[in-house]
């Protein structure tokens, strides 16, 4: 089957940049790229005037709830939410029930995702059952397809086991991804600040994150191993990563859209959709994050997509679970709040949503060239739209961005011989 994608502004970090082209796909393969491709009969055409096309977006921090909480998200519903968000590849976190800490579990996720437009990569637990007692069977996990290791939800429990995990994964050339939060200071419902004082909510201090970021950086430096800091959220953590990078430490960092768009001031509503971990921080932290995004201290934008059922989000604030969904808003928020506000150029946006996640996880970067398999994201940075939580493809509705007006939208995702466009999957193969 032939499909013609017209008038795309191509941005391929490894190839064509900022040129308007037509793309002809046949059975999901890019067969022709040209200024203007005439329409043959039997070719379905899509006019993308005004839109940009890059290699597919990659969200490296996603919580699918399968197995365990399939009522909140399944591998398939999460993958479809990603496609609807313009994303072609995701990496899912291992904090399911049971934990993804053995080859069978990796295989289970892979099987579930088979045949979907979105490639679902698996990050396996760094320690058995994420308990921080024994390192997970990383060799076997790698062989079964795991692309990194994390105890996300918590930090790797102590420095001793962290060291073992870093050394072992260094041998396998896979990254350790750390949720940085000192356990003894954890457990609060919002960022410790004058706002938590006024709201009377149990606070968690930013230093809880900073301490573990420092520990992890020092350990990575000592072992010459690599570490990826998940959802960085504090000013000090950004500064520590910046300094570590300048010393040559193999540290990378990611930030979520909510940590660069929202602050703790949102908590005045006591709306549990603003409860997440790490919590929303201060204006100063957000400013430092924007600076870190600009100067390259922060490598990646990832959603930390964390579905929760409406029942759970209706719990009293201190009991409600942490986390929000984000697969379907990450691209829009990045375009709206970073690209359109001139914090990041298009090139930098592509770096953080396309290039760096794959670099960190050692995965190949798709090319936009004739003969290549089409793995593409198409988006319009100028399109204004309003988020409607009820229309999201995720099984869950817990987003603080409902009703938010966003400038910039993902239009289509293409991968594995399929295209997601205007709310539906279109098969591109014969």
């Amino acid at each position: 089957m032939k499909v013609l994608l017209q008038n795309l502004q191509i941005f391929d970090p490894q190839g064509i940049q900022n040129e308007k082209k037509d793309l002809l796909l046949e059975d999901g393969i890019i067969v022709k790229i040209s200024d203007s491709i005439p329409i043959d009969s039997g070719v379905e055409k899509f006019d993308f005037e005004g839109a940009i096309c890059s290699p597919g977006f990659f969200d490296m921090h996603v919580h699918l709830r399968e197995p365990g909480r399939e009522d909140e998200e399944t591998v398939l519903s999460g993958a479809t939410a990603a496609a609807a968000g313009g994303i072609t590849e995701i990496a899912c976190m291992p904090n399911t029930t049971p934990t993804i800490d053995n080859a069978g579990m990796v295989d289970f996720i892979k099987q579930k995702a088979k045949g979907h437009l979105v490639n679902v990569h698996v990050i396996a637990a760094a320690t058995k059952d994420r308990k921080g007692e024994y390192i997970s069977p990383m060799y076997e996990l790698k062989e079964s397809g795991a692309v990194g290791f994390s105890d996300d939800g918590v930090s790797i429990k102590n420095a001793f086991i962290l060291r073992k995990a870093m050394e072992y994964s260094k041998m396998l050339e896979l990254p350790i991804i750390e949720h940085c939060e000192d356990e003894s200071l954890a457990g609060g419902a919002m960022n410790e600040s004058e706002v938590s004082t006024k709201l009377g909510l149990p606070p968690v201090p930013s230093v809880a994150e900073d301490l573990i970021v420092m520990r992890d950086i020092l350990m990575a430096e000592y072992l010459d191993a690599s570490v990826h800091i998940a959802h960085i959220s504090t000013k000090n953590a950004v500064e520590m990563v910046r300094q570590a990078k300048s010393r040559g430490v193999k540290v990378t960092a990611e930030v979520t859209p909510h940590h660069f768009t929202l602050t703790q001031d949102s908590l005045y509503s006591y709306d549990t959709n603003f409860k997440m971990n790490p919590p929303l921080r201060s204006k100063e932290d957000v400013a430092a994050i924007l600076e870190g995004l600009k100067d390259g201290t922060i490598d990646v934008i990832a959603s930390d997509h964390a579905p929760h059922s409406p029942e759970e989000k209706d719990y009293e604030f201190i009991y409600a679970p942490n986390g929000i969904i984000g697969l379907e808003t990450i691209v829009g928020l990045t375009l709206s709040d970073l690209y359109n506000k001139k914090i990041l150029s298009l090139e930098k946006v592509i770096e953080k949503l396309v290039v760096n996640p794959r670099k960190i996880l050692n995965l190949p970067l798709p090319k936009i060239a004739e003969g290549e398999k089409a793995n593409l994201s198409i988006f319009n940075p100028d399109l204004v739209w309003t988020v409607d939580a009820n229309k999201l493809k995720s099984k869950s509705r817990n987003t603080p961005f409902d009703k938010r007006i966003i400038t910039g939208k993902a239009l289509a995702a293409i991968n594995n011989g399929k295209m997601f466009f205007e709310d539906e999957f279109i098969s591109l193969s014969a």
Partner: protein
Amino acid sequence: MPLSSKHLLGLYDTPVEDIRLILDTAKTFREVLERPIKKVPTLQGQTVLNLFFEASTRTKLSFELAEKRLSADVVNFSKSGSSVQKGETFKDTVNNIISMKVDIIVVRHESAGVPQFLTRFTNAKIINAGDGRHEHPTQALLDIYSIEEKIGSVKGKKICIVGDIAHSRVALSNIFALKKLGAEVSVCGPLTMMPVNIEELGVKIYSDINKAIAENDVLNVLRIQLEREAGSSIPDLREYREYFGINAERIEKNNKDILILHPGPINRGVELSSDVADGPYQIILNQVTNGVAVRMAILYLLGTQN
């Protein structure tokens, strides 16, 4: 003149005019409480639900008395612990109860924000009877009423709140209201019991109890939660008593004009020695009486407005 809001969720958002209106109205009800027949028909036909998700004897009793003296129909619901543990959401629990159509809900809960949350799915008027470590507006109002009854307007008065400020809804509501009324507010206690950025609320911090006694007109002394604090914020109760406890000797040495308040129940021999708890400087039992009058005023003002 009506209140500007149909709820009393906290004093942070309550304008000073409303605070004054409540305090003035309370005076009238304080007089009612001195009459041989203490009941007025003001809230006849209205139903008040006391929704207590946290153990409370005094506040609940005080509210119940206030409601009954206003001739309201009173329904009580008490349940401690989280609804979560019972597999039922808070919203379900509450929806069940309020489907009985109540006019006013008095709510206490260990999570901050619950009174505000309730306003989103009921039409009833909500009175916060304490939410987590957030606010306890009726307690602060009765404290202020009691101070003014004794020494006149709090404006310009120096008032210090002593104890575990970080975990105290009484402290926070007092700070918000007293600042609005023009008092000079301070707090005293170990730094481990101070919430971060408390100075930004415009309060001074003392860590020397003798100085706090010497430099203030009023001390509002909070109960030290034995369970919570042993081993975390303070080394032990003995050390707290020795360095932050208030006894007659300290008062006599530093300031014999001091007025002592305590929201109760008192840990005798910890935050207050018995000679102070029963002595001439305190107005603890007046607070209890005034609490009924202040709560009657709030119920009346909210209950009679649309």
